[in-house]
């Protein structure tokens, strides 16, 4: 009976998805803009609510609903540092997102690689950024699919096995993206964000009450007092800060969200609301549920090994009839992240790899067609990888690999957005060195206090600085097109009563 309810709710949920995708497709068809721009970044027309919820739902994923609960269960208050850096996402919207938006608006970019080539005048760097971007997204996409399927398997006691869950998630993602493009992903993200946020808030209130309300942490102390003091490991937290913090803007699918904003006003309002969504809700609610789970009776059967399934376990014990909503919420979280990543990866392949290899650029319609083909191919690849041994498992380390690779893109991005002294050769060899070291460390696992992502990042910065010191700067035209523009609009505008250069130049 329980499984019948679960499957029925999932069917309704999938139906709602398809309906929203249909509405967004119909809306997109009315647009008269450039086809690729519409398909990949929603025609630069996203408003505040859709962009906020879409960015939140994309960034917070299966990892939030599964992995972060487990991290708090295993590490206690040590993991709260994560909530601090989700506040900084808002700061990053100003420091990086607004500049990305401005350059994208001026030159009509739809992928990060286009901006890289235009600024550094380097095809090789564009290709390298594209390849690293895709490799950074694949493990994160994989955990969404495997995490959703794992939860489905647990919640239904195997009635909906892992394999079926993987197929449902992959097919849903493929259909939404192929059918409705960016607007479809943004609108479904908005629905899914509201859906799983509601589940999180209701669950946190229920669990907090069950765990003793204001005495919750005192009750936790009675069972595992060690969770309530920070257990050190500062370098590990720095790595999480850098990976998850910078990953919020430098990974290609997040970068393209900035391009999609309708105006700087939208970006500003999204920045103001980001702390409430990203930190106070998505990062702190898992703290309540994850740490409360150590109290007997909250999540029976939980252990370090099964800590990534705390949420399904809580519902299985206290509200099995509502468990189907959690499963749907987990699927929502997975799909809302992977759809943006999939569309982003496909557009990178079409624009930055296929298009840049051709002597004659693809037309906008051809580019959209190639993007759709790549979406279908990548969906199949993810499906195969998720079914391969090792596709499931503890989620955080796998995601960290993806975010670590994304981190390697930061120095070259900073060159475009803030630091004039970064040269093409500096950015190129820094990226190769950082990503190369990271891969070597991930394979050979040397016994040093730095993780692969952080070590690669430091190495990358050092190479970028050294090589940039001895090689020729980017062209004066690039400096004028980017840094002078940023200075004019964003740096020299301190006093609102204005003697800003842009007014005086007129």
């Amino acid at each position: 009976m329980g499984n019948v309810i679960t499957i029925s709710i999932l069917a309704v949920f999938i139906g709602v998805f398809i309906f929203i995708s249909f509405l967004s497709k119909r809306n997109a068809e009315k647009s008269t803009n450039d086809a690729a721009e519409d398909f990949v970044i929603g025609g630069r027309s996203m408003g505040t609510v859709v962009l906020l919820l879409s960015m939140g739902a994309t960034y917070f994923s299966t990892w939030t609903l599964l992995g972060s609960f487990g991290a708090y269960y295993r590490e206690g208050v040590w993991f709260i540092g994560f909530a601090v850096w989700t506040i900084f996402h808002a700061v990053f919207i100003w420091l990086f997102g607004a500049r990305i938006w401005l350059a994208g608006k001026r030159f009509g970019f739809i992928t990060p690689g286009q901006m890289v080539e235009h600024y550094y005048e380097s095809k090789r760097l564009r290709t390298l950024v594209a390849v690293i971007g895709i490799f950074a997204l694949v493990p994160v996409m994989l955990i969404q699919v495997s995490g959703g399927a794992l939860a489905l398997d647990t919640m239904t006691d195997g009635a909906v096995p892992y394999v079926v869950g993987v197929v449902i998630t992959s097919v849903m993602v493929g259909v939404i993206v192929l059918w409705a493009g960016f607007k479809g992903t943004a609108w479904t993200d908005t629905f899914m964000g509201v859906f799983f946020a509601t589940i999180l808030i209701c669950t946190a209130i229920y669990v907090c009450n069950l765990a003793g309300g204001f005495n919750m942490f005192a009750n936790v102390a009675a069972y595992k007092p060690e969770l309530l003091v920070n257990n050190g490991k500062p370098m590990k937290m720095v790595e999480i800060w850098l990976g998850l913090g910078f990953g919020a803007w430098v990974l290609p699918h997040m970068w393209q969200k900035f391009y999609s904003a309708a105006s700087p006003e939208v970006l500003g309002k999204v920045a103001v609301m980001t702390p409430f969504w990203n930190s106070w809700m998505m990062a702190i609610i898992p703290l309540v549920i994850g740490t409360a789970a150590v109290i007997p009776g909250i999540a029976p059967g939980v252990s370090k090994e099964t800590s990534d399934t705390i949420l399904p376990l809580v519902f299985a014990e206290h509200a099995p009839i509502l468990g189907a909503f959690v499963v749907a919420g987990i699927l929502a979280a997975a799909i809302s992240t992977i759809n943006s990543q999939l569309l982003s990866s496909a557009s990178i392949v079409a624009e930055d790899v296929v298009n840049s290899l051709r002597s004659e650029p693809l037309s906008s319609t051809q580019s959209t067609k190639v993007t759709r083909i790549v979406v279908a191919s990548l969906t199949t690849l993810i499906l195969v990888l998720a079914l391969a041994p090792g596709g499931a498992g503890l989620l955080v380390p796998i995601a960290a690999l993806g975010f670590g690779l994304g981190l390697q893109l930061v120095p070259s991005a900073l060159g475009m957005l803030h630091f004039r002294f970064v040269t093409e050769k500096g950015a190129f060899f820094g990226l190769i060195g950082g990503a190369g070291l990271m891969v070597l460390m991930a394979i050979f696992k040397p016994d040093i206090p730095l993780g692969p992502g952080f070590a690669g990042f430091i190495f990358n910065i050092l190479i970028t600085l050294c090589v940039s010191r001895f090689t020729s700067s980017v062209s004066a035209k690039s400096l004028e097109n980017y840094h002078d523009m940023f200075d004019e609009y964003m740096r020299n505008n301190t006093s609102s009563d204005k003697k800003s250069s842009l007014v005086t130049t007129k």
């Binding site: 208050v77 601090v84 001026r106 030159f107 942490f217 920045a271 800003s500």
Partner: protein
């Protein structure tokens, strides 16, 4: 406005540094403050201040940016690459 901007950045840096203290075993005693363990209370307090700082980004940075764009709209050039 420049002074307020600098002040906001200083406050944000101080809060960020404070939140890192428990990782260095400072402000990390096993005592409760208002029902919260000390390192958690410190981090959440700083989080609250950081949230307020972030809210000021809109009038301090985004509004002048919007005004600058309104005064001089950007000239769009299509990139064919």
């Amino acid at each position: 406005m420049k002074t307020i901007r600098v002040l906001i950045w200083i406050i944000m840096c101080i809060c960020l540094i404070l939140t890192f203290m428990p990782y260095l075993n400072v402000f990390n005693a096993p005592v409760m403050i208002a029902g919260l363990p000390m390192p958690l209370a410190l981090t959440l307090g700083c989080n609250l201040i950081l949230t307020l700082c972030v809210i000021t980004l809109y009038p301090l940075y985004f509004k002048p940016f919007m005004k600058a764009l309104k005064n001089k709209p950007i000239s769009e050039e299509k990139y064919n690459g």
